[in-house]
């Protein structure tokens, strides 16, 4: 038998246990709910009051981007920092364009007027260093050899205007600037009907770039080699981005073979820029036995009087024109598009008579071949008069060089 004290103690103990249980449960729930409420309050405070950055997070805050505006330069739209002080904006733009190798854009009358005299002098020097002035003249364009034997009556006599032609084919290094600058996503430099196809213009790793590149970059040691693996549309987009364009057949032939004088209309144009006799040291063709591209500065003996390198050999060059006489041609590539003209021959061109000033070949504009590259041209009309080298000056400079 339990005593009354014992019974009372048992009841008290039971009561204490119940109280403690209720207290514990309530404390636990308060803690849980408290934590949740605190989190909620913190989140709400962040949303409503605004986040107060600590010292650590201050660095993560993106600085406010300067307002920009786009100006149209030729076909290309250039992004310019918007600023009231015109000098700062122009200076910044000029620096950006020079850094990106797009100095040709600065030659445009729209931008050239903003250049200081020192800048104009600098741009003029770069222009004459990178490009050669080809004086206008009359050239003979032979029909493509695939048409078979031809007579002089089948040839076209074309007047080509003065222009500045790149002294060198476009290198991998130059093309990488275009890729890095987002050239493949810049709609303004692409033809509208192929822009959607640019997602297929990828390198071996599936990233934008020429088809033999990896991770949007070229192989080591390829800095000064001509860019290859680009189709006609990529070539044209690059040319627009850099502020130039692809050459016409007549302009290219004029630069390579020179102008026909009135008395030379029958056989005045030489076969090669250096003369009529092929020399394997003057150009990188099959006969040179290199079997690959060489730096664009190789074969200086192959330059003509204009000092334009590798017009013959190393890589074919895309022209803006269609492959001649395409009405009579039915292409064998499964495409309904016309072929685009290519000229100059490449390192694997087997016959030297397929790499003359007159020889024209064709290629599908979507082909990304291992031996077709780019050379750009700039019309004289697209250059501000104060930047273009006057013909008299050019002639006198040449005379001084000759002396």
């Amino acid at each position: 038998m339990k005593t009354t004290w014992e019974q009372k103690l048992e009841r008290l103990f039971g009561l204490a246990m119940v109280v403690m249980f209720i207290w514990g449960v309530s404390i636990g729930s308060v803690m849980v709910w408290g934590t949740a409420a605190a989190t909620l309050v913190l989140m709400l405070s962040r949303l409503l009051v605004g986040f107060v950055p600590t010292k650590q997070t201050e660095n993560l805050v993106t600085p406010p981007r300067p307002e920009t505006r786009k100006i149209q330069v030729g076909r290309t739209r250039v992004v310019v920092p918007k600023s009231d002080s015109g000098d700062d904006a122009s200076a910044k733009l000029i620096e950006q364009l020079i850094e990106a190798g797009r100095t040709a854009l600065l030659c445009r009358p729209e931008l050239a007027e903003r250049l200081s005299p020192e800048q104009q002098q600098y741009i003029r020097e770069i222009l004459n260093e990178d490009m050669a002035r080809v004086s206008g003249g009359r050239v003979r364009l032979d029909p493509p050899p695939t048409f078979g034997p031809f007579e002089l009556g089948d040839c076209q006599w074309v007047e080509a205007e003065s222009a500045y032609l790149d002294r060198f084919p476009v290198t991998n290094h130059q093309f990488k600037r275009f890729v890095d600058d987002g050239g493949y996503k810049d709609q303004s430099v692409w033809d509208a009907d192929v822009f959607s196809a640019t997602r297929t213009f990828v390198d071996q790793t599936g990233k934008p770039g020429p088809c033999f590149w990896k991770n949007s970059t070229y192989n080591q040691g390829g800095d000064d080699h001509p860019v290859v693996g680009v189709n006609w549309y990529e070539a044209q987009a690059y040319a627009r981005w850099v502020g130039k364009r692809l050459p016409q057949d007549a302009e290219w032939v004029l630069a390579a073979g020179g102008s026909l004088g009135p008395a030379e209309s029958i056989s005045g144009q030489p076969k090669y820029p250096w003369g009529n006799v092929f020399d394997e040291d003057h150009a990188n063709l099959w006969a040179t036995d290199r079997s690959k591209t060489v730096p664009v500065t190789d074969h200086p003996d192959g330059c003509g009087s204009e000092e334009i390198y590798q017009l013959i050999g190393n890589v074919w060059e895309w022209m803006v024109d269609d492959y001649a006489g395409h009405d009579d041609l039915e292409q064998n590539f499964g495409f309904s598009r016309t072929l685009k003209s290519i000229r100059g021959g490449a390192f694997d061109t087997y016959f030297e008579n397929h790499a003359t000033c007159q020889f024209q070949s064709g290629e599908n504009p979507f082909s990304r071949k291992h031996n077709i590259g780019i050379r750009c041209i700039l019309s004289i009309d697209d250059i501000a008069p104060e930047l273009a080298l006057p013909i008299e000056t050019e002639a006198s400079e040449m005379a001084v060089c000759a002396v």
């Binding site: 050899p145 695939t146 048409f147 078979g148 064998n332 087997y350 016959f351 397929h354 070949s361 064709g362």
Partner: protein, 316 residues
């Protein structure tokens, strides 16, 4: 006028006509001074070479393939490239007639034309005799190439015995180049695969049929008897399908699975190659109203590799 004159007595030469010379390819008798066999039209200098050097049989390379796959263009360009280059394979064409195939092909290609189609008549087929000096060997090799008409070849595969020279050449061949049109195969043309399989089946049967008995003494080294014939399977016109150059085995397994299987099963010594001689073609309307395919330009790729591999596997 001098009364003395030297008159050679050629009468003893008549005696040579009494001894017939067997054709190396078909085994039929011919006159000792015959240029080509009266039975199969094969060149008789093959037999002369074999008689001169009874330790080494002539290296005969046959080029097989369907019509217009580019056998003549390939061989003509190969011979021209080999004669132009100086490297690990020092190459010399023997005899003026051996230059004809190169001349026809290269001249036409330089004019942006293809050489004429090889006629079906064996008398008109191209044979070339070349001497190959390899750096790893002291003795030069005499190599004979034959370019046969594709239509005749397929006819022979269907009806063996119709062209004895084809049977003879394949039986005596020490290396084979089988050409398949990569462009057509890539576009899903199943004929290409059937042509390839047909020719490979015929080739396998012919090799088995012509295999010499094991213990027969012919003065040849045992290795020459035992080693399987190397076969280069060349996917021609690969310029039209860059996937060939990028991943050849995947291309063959994907587009020519039958060819792949028959090679694995029946030819222990084979290798696939991608090759192109021209870069692009277009159609040309001639003055006579005909339409011809003409090359846009000539840029040989992968032309030497199949031959270099064969030369490395010759049983000498």
């Amino acid at each position: 006028m001098s009364g003395q004159a030297i008159q050679p007595m050629d009468s003893y030469r008549l005696g040579q006509y009494q001894f017939p010379v067997p054709c190396y390819l078909c085994g039929k008798d011919n006159l000792f001074d015959a240029e080509s066999c009266r039975n199969c039209a094969g060149p008789m200098n093959l037999q002369r070479y074999a008689e001169e050097d009874n330790k080494h049989r002539p290296q005969l390379i046959v080029t097989l393939g369907a019509n217009e796959v580019g056998k003549t263009v390939y061989l003509g360009t190969l011979l021209d490239i080999l004669s132009r280059q100086r490297g690990e394979l020092d190459f010399m064409t023997c005899g003026a007639s051996s230059l004809s195939m190169s001349q026809t092909t290269v001249s036409a290609l330089a004019r942006c034309e293809f050489p004429p189609i090889t006629p079906k008549e064996p008398e008109s087929w191209n044979w070339a005799h070349c001497r190959l000096q390899r750096r790893t060997r002291k003795k030069p090799l005499d190599v004979f190439f034959v370019d046969m008409a594709g239509s005749a070849l397929l006819e022979q595969a269907d009806h063996p015995g119709r062209y004895p020279s084809i049977g003879g050449a394949i039986g005596k061949a020490t290396g084979t180049i089988l050409m398949i049109d990569a462009d057509r195969a890539g576009k899903g043309d199943k004929d290409e695969e059937f042509f390839g399989r047909k020719i490979l089946s015929y080739l396998a049967d012919s090799i088995q049929h012509h295999a010499p008995p094991k213990n027969r003494k012919r003065g040849l080294r045992p290795r020459q008897e035992d080693q399987p014939m190397p076969i280069s399977i060349v996917l021609a016109k690969a310029d039209q399908n860059e996937a060939c150059f990028d991943n050849l085995s995947e291309f063959v397994r994907g587009h020519l699975p039958g060819v792949w299987n028959i090679c694995q099963e029946r030819f222990p010594l084979h290798r696939f190659f991608a090759c192109s001689v021209v870069a692009g073609t277009v159609m040309r309307n001639t003055a006579a109203g005909e339409r011809h395919i003409v090359p846009l330009r000539v840029e040989p790729r992968g032309v030497i590799e199949p031959f270099r591999w064969l030369a490395g596997n010759f049983a000498d």
